[in-house]
């Protein structure tokens, strides 16, 4: 068998393998949320006054908001006063060199397969690692700086490039956007920042690895990526968390800005702890991701492989403002055991001749519930806009569910919108065919599922496609008896 298939086989017999806890001394703020906590976070991060004001505006707006209920997921009420909003490894939070990273944290990331020592990194990926609330190391920073590329933690960006941050922060996802994004705007702790200057093609994949470690902690990271005119960047995001019986909240915000002729490719492999087989524990993942294709011919591609979390609520979208701009969304979402996912995209066509493509693959197994929710909005001025959507669902077993909610809003008669949808069950005859050729049932399922997801996997950078395939097989483990 190929190494990929063999790894799948090995992994298929394992439980969630990222479920360990690292013992590091953490500096936390008291449990609960109030204006004091917001000020404390801002103070700890030595933020400028304008940012504190922004946070406070968000906090006050949030107080008047109610949690959304339209999504097709069920979960116990979240007690927002029972969450710790800031937790940072105690050792020096801002680091100049990788040698200063706490050895325990370094060991954690190594366990996760993210070696922070630059020499060990496979060439071509620069990594920013976020542990609980704080970014602990960014590799290749100097090399990138020579090209004018800024890639650092969000906190460092606030200190070192405040003008850029101030110019773009909240321009794609305003602080008042929605309940979870607004909460994030008030209490976000860290995240990644990237700026690719005019005409520069980023020579390596930029990558952030998020890890929730501390108990009762929410993770609220914020990422901002700006591709200036003619710039190109490919960005990857990975996430894991320890196994815990209680649910943990993750409410992140990602904003992308692509100026004229710029391209941003944003790929996510989301593998937060999904909870156990009985549905106990797991991450509540409420995330707002949006890109603004602001310039002419700009392009934003979201690719996501969502295998983890007890609850996934995210709709990475594109605002297609520039004429001829392009938005793409490729998604694989799996729900096994008691996982629930309500995910999809929003494509908002404003400019002329804008184009969007949506390919969504939902896989449900066990008691998993998988909902695709997508919106395509074509504005009055969006002459010649085009959208193609394809939503396929695959069911494994008969206790799970797949749901599709496509919303269309078309205000320009020259627009062309196509939607295709399918729901299928994993075919016993396909499994038998594979077994007759010598493959185990497990391998057969993995093969069929990865075939089902192929159009999405091929959008991922090579090494991540392999990783994604492995995760998929792990998350579907035990789904076929």
């Amino acid at each position: 068998m190929t190494t990929a298939t063999r790894t799948i086989e090995e992994l298929a017999n394992r439980e969630y393998q990222y479920g360990f806890v690292t013992d590091v001394e953490a500096e936390t703020v008291p449990k609960g949320l109030n204006e004091e906590v917001v000020r404390l976070i801002s103070e700890k991060k030595r933020e400028p006054e304008w940012l504190l004001e922004w946070r406070l505006k968000a906090y006050r707006t949030w107080l008047a908001m109610t949690e959304p209920t339209w999504q097709n997921v069920r979960y116990p009420a979240i007690d927002y006063q029972d969450i710790i909003y800031y937790s940072a490894p105690k050792k020096k939070p801002t680091l100049n060199s990788l040698d200063e990273v706490d050895p325990e944290i370094r060991a954690t990331f190594e366990k996760l397969g993210i070696p922070l020592e630059e020499q060990k990194l496979f060439a071509g990926v620069a990594v920013d690692a976020v542990f609980d609330s704080v970014s602990v190391a960014t590799t290749f920073r100097t090399k990138l700086a020579e090209m004018g590329i800024i890639f650092c933690s969000f906190s460092d960006a606030v200190q070192e490039h405040p003008d850029l941050v101030r110019k773009y922060l909240g321009t794609v996802v305003p602080y008042s956007d929605n309940f979870f994004a607004t909460l994030n705007s008030a209490v976000f702790s860290d995240g990644s920042f990237a700026y690719i200057p005019k005409g520069v093609r980023c020579p390596m994949e930029l990558s952030t690895y998020f890890r929730i470690n501390a108990r009762n902690t929410g993770q609220f990271e914020r990422t901002l990526i700006i591709a200036d005119e003619g710039a190109h960047v490919s960005y990857l995001e990975g996430c894991t968390a320890p196994m815990r019986d209680e649910n943990q909240l993750h409410a992140a915000v990602v904003e992308l800005v692509a100026l004229d002729n710029a391209t941003i490719k944003y790929s996510t492999i989301q593998n937060w702890y999904p909870g156990d087989k009985q549905g106990k524990g797991g991450i509540f993942n409420f995330v707002t991701k949006r890109g603004k294709a602001a310039g002419v011919n700009s392009k934003i591609t979201w690719t996501q492989v969502e295998t983890g979390s007890a609850i996934t609520w995210k709709y990475p979208g594109c605002i297609l403002l520039g004429d001829h701009s392009i938005g793409e969304f490729y998604s694989v979402a799996t729900t096994n055991n008691w996982q629930q996912a309500d995910t999809g995209t929003k494509m908002i066509h404003i400019g002329r001749n804008t184009k969007s493509t949506i390919v969504s693959k939902g896989i449900s197994a066990g008691h998993g519930q998988n909902t695709y929710r997508g919106m395509v909005k074509i504005g009055k001025q969006a002459h010649g806009a085009r959208n193609y959507s394809q939503c396929d669902s695959l069911l494994i077993g008969d206790q799970c569910g797949a749901h599709t909610f496509p919303y269309l809003e078309i205000k320009n008669t020259s627009a062309r919108v196509e939607h295709e949808a399918s729901t299928s069950k994993i075919d016993e005859d396909q499994i038998f065919y594979c077994r007759q050729r010598g493959l185990s049932t497990e391998d057969a399922v993995n093969l069929i599922v990865s075939g089902f997801c192929r159009e999405v996997f091929r959008e991922l950078p090579m090494e991540f496609a392999v990783e994604a395939q492995k995760l998929l097989s792990v998350s579907l483990e035990g789904s076929v008896g």
Partner: protein, 259 residues
Amino acid sequence: MTMLEIHNLHVRVGGKPILQGIDLCVNAGEVHAIMGPNGSGKSTLARALSGHPDYQVTEGEVSYEGRDLLAMDPEERARDGVFMAFQYPVEIPGVNNAYFLKAALNAIRTHRGQEELDAIEFMALMREKSTLLEIDPSMLTRSVNEGFSGGEKKRNEIFQMAVLEPKLAILDETDSGLDIDALKLVANGVNAMRSPERAIIVVTHYQRLLDYIVPDVVHVLSGGRIVKSGDRALALELEDKGYGWLEPEAAAAAPAAKA
């Protein structure tokens, strides 16, 4: 040496009894042809031998190389050398044909204690076997059977057999839907596999195939039983007379048949 010995095999599908006492003995090195009217149970026999979970054995024994075949999972049977060319090969969208075959071959090799083939060795093997069957290389990079014509699917089955080199091959109507040239190619492919260590069972409706793949024994399956066995001449006789004349014999072979 006896490779496959079927004794009094009864099989039910969807609650319905289909095979009603099959006895068949196939030795290594032999080619057996199974003929018989539509719905007589030929594919049922092939599927039961390869372990399809919907085919429930209610009575009888099957030994394969001295082992209890019925106790083995389908993949174990495959890894131990049982291959079935499907009457209706299944499509697996998005899964590359070559990748699929490599996974299968390496599963079998691992089981045999052989080293897995790497990409280069595998490609060389593919080239060799695809030349034999005149398989268009583009078929290897397409998804398994997806969008293949009926004839291409059948050729792909034989191609897989050539790569996997089974000990016992069961070909279920591989000749149906093939044009004359493809039929000869497939027959050549099968003949190239004939060896003293290998047994082949061909299910067919057409005696023409048996001009190319000359069988040692011909059986007629009717009403879930083997009602007549003979040499090649039997196939010619069948072509001439059809199956009707065998019916009294079928009835005689099944005195206890209940309506």
